[in-house]
Amino acid sequence: MKVLSIDTSNYPLGVALLEGDKVIGEYITNVKKNHSVRVMPAIEMLMKDCDVKPADLDKIVVAKGPGSYTGVRIGVTIAKTLAWTLNIPLAGVSSLEIFAASAGRYFDGVVSPLFDARRGQIYTGLYRYKEGQLVTLVKDQLLLSKDWADQLSEQNENVLFIGNDLPLHQDIFEETLKDQAVYAAPTEHNPRPAELALLGRDREGEEVHSFVPNYIRLAEAEANWIEANKEKKL
């Protein structure tokens, strides 16, 4: 079974190939460059280097958000079009869960991967390994890192924070959580596309046509419109 995984949900661009239990190829960059220009050539290069042809693929796994709206859409569009056109299953995995899968594997406690969402907010969820399986304790959400730190301080476990945007919020976590907070090493801050492939490999395929990113947030205009129409009804 050959699995191709794609993650363009933030600045890191990741592509990996899994053959059975073996990671046969993985490509990661973490630069502020255009995903739309680079992701297809990255897939082409990796597959060529690994001697895998598009028709050899058995499954596509994609990071479905949260993240940059445009970034997630690029990955999801390529993934769903590939899955549809090659007639193979598609699995979507949380962009945050990917971090937890790698760094959390050997950590005794809970894992909070995060992306900065501006104005003091973060996208985050809460994960932990139980008997070798990664489980979601709190679904991905958008909230103030201050509020998140307060919530986490009410439980007794150590928390591992991961993500390239960590420096923007680390002071808040340090202040509230003190020794309870653990910070991942820089090598863990880019989500591993191979972990993404592994997470998605055994998941049931999703309906390709209706597959969409998990934006978490409504489009601003939509949210405003709903708000305005709520007032009208009152």
Binding site: V37, R73, K80, T85, E220
Partner: protein, 347 residues
């Protein structure tokens, strides 16, 4: 033998997502429409009074594979039949363009099919080739929500913009005037309808610009309409919306038709092609037919409505010619919201 003959047919898939239509089409031998599927988002954007880019992008992701599948089913062909995939690379809304571009690249890669990036306006012009064969040199009047241009073509795949708007596109002016008259979005068709019920009795300006210029300007006209409504309100007078619509439309058409006619004479063209969404405007169609349909030696082509508004058949039709000229794009093809039509000329 039959097999062999079929192999020589050229099949081009076109993908267009530059604004609020998710569209896929398949064209055989450059001119035969085998499939033409358009999923419009207009109902979703109506409540905002215009296209919201983020929402357009989201809808494109929801629709893209559904529309692709329907087009393939309509044409009754498979990937191995496709000669190339043509996709709008710009101009347009960048987030919206990205969906089409990346879907096109995924299919091209998956099946080893050549990819051709197409300029949206080149597409609008080539919609005409689905109606009649092009005869060069020709002139195309492109009028849409985002564009007002006169494009001169000496040969296939070579585009020279001899005039363009310096401010608002004609379609934009229509939408703004419609808003001033409290007409629903999109306003163009409503103005067109009202104009037919009214008389062009209100004096409005026509922007001719400097002598010999083929450029356009509609912002002054738009302001004049807004001022007319405003002044009437202040004086407590009632403006007849039908008459205002008729006067506005007459001013737009006068400028478009006069400049087009002058360019046709100067460039000695064999054809005049109408292109773009505003080509659906009945007043403009009638004026062009009235002025140019009986010109000896000059053929006037006006595509049916469904080919004037955004669609992918036009992208495939333009892609067919570019592909024949040997123009291919790489998998690093990007969406370019400010793409210049001249990119097609240098290759």
């Amino acid at each position: 033998m039959g097999e062999f003959m079929n192999k020589k047919d050229q099949w081009i898939m076109g993908i267009e997502t530059s604004c609020d239509e998710t569209a896929v089409a398949i064209i055989k031998n450059g001119r035969e429409m085998a499939a033409n599927v358009v999923a419009s988002q207009i109902e979703s954007h109506k409540r905002f009074g215009g296209v919201v880019p983020e929402i357009a992008s989201r809808h494109h992701v929801e629709q893209i594979t559904i529309v692709l599948e329907e087009a393939l089913n309509q044409a009754g062909i498979t990937y191995s039949d496709l000669s190339a995939i043509a996709v709008t690379e710009g101009p347009g809304l960048v987030g919206a363009l990205l969906i089409g571009v990346n879907a096109a690249k995924a299919i091209a890669f998956a099946h080893g099919i050549p990819l051709v990036g197409v300029h949206h306006i080149a597409g609008h012009i080539y919609a005409n080739r689905l109606v009649a064969e092009m005869k060069f040199p020709l002139l195309s009047l492109v009028v849409s929500g985002g564009h007002t241009e006169l494009v001169y073509m000496e040969e296939h795949g070579h585009f020279e913009v001899i005039g363009e708007t310096r401010d608002d596109a004609a379609g934009e002016a229509y939408d703004k005037v419609a808003r001033t008259l409290s007409l629903p979005y999109p306003g163009g068709p409503h103005i067109d309808r009202l104009a037919h019920e009214g008389e062009p009795s209100i004096n409005l300006p026509r922007a001719w610009l400097e002598e010999g210029s083929y450029d356009f300007s509609f912002s002054g006209l738009k302001s004049a309409v807004i001022n007319t409504v405003h002044n009437a309100e202040q004086r407590g007078e009632k403006i007849v919306p039908e008459d205002l619509a008729a006067s506005f439309q007459q001013s737009v058409i006068d400028v478009l038709v006069t400049k087009t006619g002058r360019a046709m004479d100067e460039y000695k063209v064999k054809q005049l092609l109408l292109a773009g969404g505003v080509a659906a405007n009945k007043g403009l169609r009638a004026a062009l037919e009235d002025k140019f349909a009986n010109n000896p030696g000059i053929e006037l082509i006006i595509p049916p409505l469904s080919l004037c508004t955004d669609n992918a058949a036009m992208i495939a039709a333009a892609g067919s010619i570019l592909f024949e000229k040997g123009i291919h794009s790489g998998l690093d093809l990007n969406a370019n919201p400010g793409l210049d039509i001249a990119i097609h000329n240098d290759k």
